[in-house]
């Protein structure tokens, strides 16, 4: 029974919720943002540290402090796993892939090669009220990364 519910609360999600990766605010960082989900009050403060090399810019670290439900906490944890160490362009592509999955109303087949643990969020897409939870930290990361790049460009 309640298959949708089990699809939502996959073991992977509950594991990340209980033992979040990369949690805590760290130095150094080029940009810090604070995002709130106005409807429910979930909050995240998130920092991005970029690094540069011959191959371009990559995400050296993402650190965060978050308050919220299992979905939003687990999403933050999975997100850091996915983007840390990746070139910015590739990380943005992962972001887009995740966004597509969330907005797909449960019709989009997730690509495990790209999203890794993120595929566990496929079930969230069937709970419209919870999609924002899963996206909160991703939005914050995108915002912070864009800000950091803009600052550096100046």
């Amino acid at each position: 029974m309640t298959t949708d519910l089990d699809a939502l609360y996959q073991e992977i999600i509950l594991d990340h919720y209980k033992n979040p990766h990369h949690k805590g605010l760290r130095e150094p960082f080029e940009a810090e943002v604070h995002h709130v989900n106005p409807t429910c009050g979930d909050e995240v403060t998130l920092r991005v540290h970029l690094a540069h090399g011959p191959q371009g810019t990559w995400v050296e670290d993402v650190s965060y402090d978050a308050m919220g439900c299992s979905i939003s906490q687990a999403a933050a944890s999975v997100m850091t796993d996915l983007v840390i160490g990746k070139p910015v362009g590739e990380a943005m592509a992962i972001h887009d892939e995740f966004l597509t999955l969330m907005q797909g109303k449960g019709q989009v087949e997730p690509d495990e090669d790209v999203l890794e643990d993120g595929v566990a969020f496929a079930g969230v897409a069937k709970f419209p009220a919870r999609i924002k939870c899963a996206l909160l930290s991703w939005m914050a990361w995108k915002d912070a990364t864009t800000t950091a790049q803009l600052e550096e460009a100046q």
Partner: protein
């Protein structure tokens, strides 16, 4: 008759009230659509379905009904956005009517921000405006020390643009005007006026209360120099319910304006000391919005798009031309505004010297014909033409030539009833 909606009789069946029988067994001849339009069954049914099956508060409610209600409300925003050809659906703010939308704007311009209005600044409107596009600007000027100026009207009912360069200057902060006049019917050249206003850096606000029901609108397709910065319309004149209006505005402008109403839904975070605000459109939708009304409006604009706004417009033009021809046969009757249907919308105001408009309206009403009598919320336009009130007939997509015939017959009868020569 050329230009009428195909299947007009079928379209009329969509509107339950049109089969209403009035006093003395008279069928309803509804010629007051510029005041408020009638509603097709699909709008009523959509509202009933929402209330009976999906009712819940939006955004804040996380359960299944809440998700359904939120989806329906936001889908309505998408539909309205498509109806206007809005460049960005988040630029569509739901208000309770266009009056609130215009006040939202005039009110927020009082407070600090990039667009704040102050002493020495000027607001330009026209003598052709509905009270709802006059009083908010008078209040703004009273409260900020800015000056209100306006375009006059030519004798044939067009805006007098001869002094546009003296009127719209570097001091002008806002030019706000009606697209289609609800008294004179005049269709104003908002493109040319916007071009001039943008040259001097003024915001252009368009009151589309009468345009949205009748003209195809495609904001994204307009050249930016000619595109209004703000455009509003009201649900109840576009076959939608009361209690809902639309304010579209350029995203960056909405972002910069301070909030209007404060409260639930429009916040990002609240402490007792201070609050921050949600992104647009929510910043301007404080409190529980008119949910079922927005859903009804969504069905309404879908209905209009289904008929095709080009067809609706063509119908309006055909009926208006027929009405103008008919009115011209009534001895003594004087029509205000352009006499050529191609230059105007479907509201036609007139007077019959010797019979007060109320008396005209009452005699027509006794024959089941509903028209408006009075100042039509355009007292200054009336004053411009030296009259205190007029009788106004206004047609819409469901109006038939036979109804126009009934009006003309009714006017003849009115003349004989009051023993006019």
């Amino acid at each position: 008759m050329e230009g009428l909606l195909p299947d007009l009789e079928v379209v009329r069946k969509d509107f339950p009230i049109l089969s209403r029988v009035l006093a003395d067994g008279r069928p309803l001849v509804y010629l007051d659509s510029a005041n408020t339009s009638q509603k097709p069954q699909v709008v009523i049914d959509t509202m009933v379905d929402h209330l009976e099956r999906h009712n819940a508060n939006i955004a804040r409610a996380m359960h299944q009904l809440g998700a359904e209600s939120t989806a329906a409300y936001e889908a309505a925003r998408d539909k309205v956005s498509a109806f206007l050809g809005a460049p960005d659906r988040d630029e569509v703010v739901f208000t309770k009517n266009i009056t609130e939308g215009l006040n939202l704007l005039a009110n927020t311009l009082v407070w600090p921000g990039q667009h704040q209005v102050g002493p020495g600044d000027e607001i330009v409107i026209t003598e052709m405006e509905h009270h709802s596009n006059i009083v908010p600007w008078q209040l703004l000027c009273e409260r900020t020390g800015a000056t209100l100026r306006w375009f006059g009207i030519t004798d044939d009912g067009h805006l007098d643009l001869s002094n546009i360069d003296e009127l719209v200057t570097e001091r002008t902060k806002v030019v706000s005007l009606v697209w289609v006049s609800n008294m004179l019917g005049t269709v104003n050249p908002i493109d040319a006026i916007a071009r001039r206003a943008h040259e001097v850096g003024a915001l252009v606000v368009v009151d589309a209360a009468q345009a949205a029901p009748q003209l195809p609108i495609d904001l994204a397709a307009m050249p930016v120099e000619e595109r209004p910065d703000v455009l509003g319309f009201t649900g109840h004149k576009t076959v939608g319910p009361t209690g809902i209006g639309v304010l579209w505005a350029r995203r960056d402008m909405l972002d910069q304006l301070p909030p209007f109403l404060g409260g639930g839904e429009m916040i990002e975070t609240v402490t007792m000391e201070r609050s921050t605000y949600a992104p647009v459109p929510h910043k301007f939708e404080a409190g529980t919005p008119p949910i079922v009304e927005a859903v009804g409006l969504g069905a309404a604009v879908d209905y209009l798009s289904g008929l095709g706004m080009d067809n609706v417009h063509r119908h309006e033009q055909a009926v208006t031309a027929y009405a103008l021809a008919g009115l011209a046969t009534v001895p003594g009757l004087r029509v205000f505004g352009p006499l050529d249907a191609t230059q105007r919308g479907g509201a036609v105001s007139f007077e019959i010297p010797g019979i007060h408009p109320h008396d005209v309206a009452t005699v027509l009403d006794s024959r089941g014909i509903a028209v408006r009598a009075g100042h039509s919320c355009t007292k200054p336009t009336h004053a411009r033409f030296g009259v205190q009130s007029t009788t106004r007939m206004s047609s819409y997509l469901y109006t038939t030539p036979a109804e126009i015939d009934a009006l003309i017959d009714g006017l003849e009868y009115t003349r004989s009833y009051f023993k006019l020569g």
